[in-house]
């Protein structure tokens, strides 16, 4: 089976995220009041062939641990959907 995997990588909470700050600032300047804690990360989408949803998620987490995210500075979220 093929699964569509959505990976979201974001700067770890507590780590200064100047990109998030800049975006937060810009949103405020545009008049969007009450916006806080903006974090800018990246989204990665991939098709993964696996026998089950759990296996696809496990593979995706290994990919995150080894390459897609930096364990020192980033957290990640994995969502799996059947293709």
């Amino acid at each position: 089976m093929t699964f569509r995997v959505h990976v979201r990588v974001v700067p770890r909470a507590g780590l200064l995220d100047p990109q998030g700050q800049a975006v937060e600032h810009a949103l405020g300047a545009l008049g969007f009041a009450g916006v806080r804690r903006v974090r800018v990360g990246r989204a990665i989408e991939l098709d993964v062939a696996a026998a089950s949803r759990d296996e696809a998620e496990a593979h995706a987490r290994q990919m995150c641990d080894r390459l897609l995210a930096n364990p020192v500075t980033e957290d990640y979220l994995v969502d799996v959907e059947e293709d």
Partner: protein, 232 residues
Amino acid sequence: MQRVAVLRFPGSNRDVDALTAAQRAGSDAYFVWHRDTDLGGADVVVLPGGFSYGDYLRSGAIARFSPVMQAVQRHAAEGGGVIGICNGFQILCEAGLLPGALVRNARLSFVAKPVDLVVTRTDTVFTCAFEPGDRVRVPVAHGDGRFVADPHTLDRLAGEDCIVVRYLPADDGIEPNPNGSERDIAGICNPAGTVVGLMPHPENAIDPLQGAVGGRGFFKSLAAWPALAGRR
């Protein structure tokens, strides 16, 4: 004569500068392509600056899986010298040869200018020709140069004397920390001082034509390092 392998990744751009600086300081320096798996009998390996693999994903994240990096890991494990400059420092952190990570500069902009450094450890492969407290002015050129690590790691780096060069605090006439690095860290090493990574570019300050010669001491160190016998 010191055998110095300068690695070339797709996107390296200070490779010729590093080679030239090493040669002028008296080393027998040569290039090694990132697909090679043999370091050619190197005493010291230099990972030069640039934008390996376009800095895609994260700076250094993809280069660390280049075939040559397995040889670098073995070389480092055997006590051989390894030096990462700028993008090379980022690759060494991604590869786990040095702790921490280099992330986007605190003020977001790419910085390319001279900075003032103080040399804080002087028995490493890249600083053994300095005296503790020596100050040098060399350029930086990076967008992702802010060194970060968890507080425990930062304390360990300081406690084990693994901070090799620091930026200086802002003061009259001083070019200070340009990127917001934790504890003004510009470069670190492993406890043995055999693996060194730094963000500034000493290879771009070795000739008056470049506007400064503050980087010469680093390459003098590199050339002299094996003379510190018993290390290897």
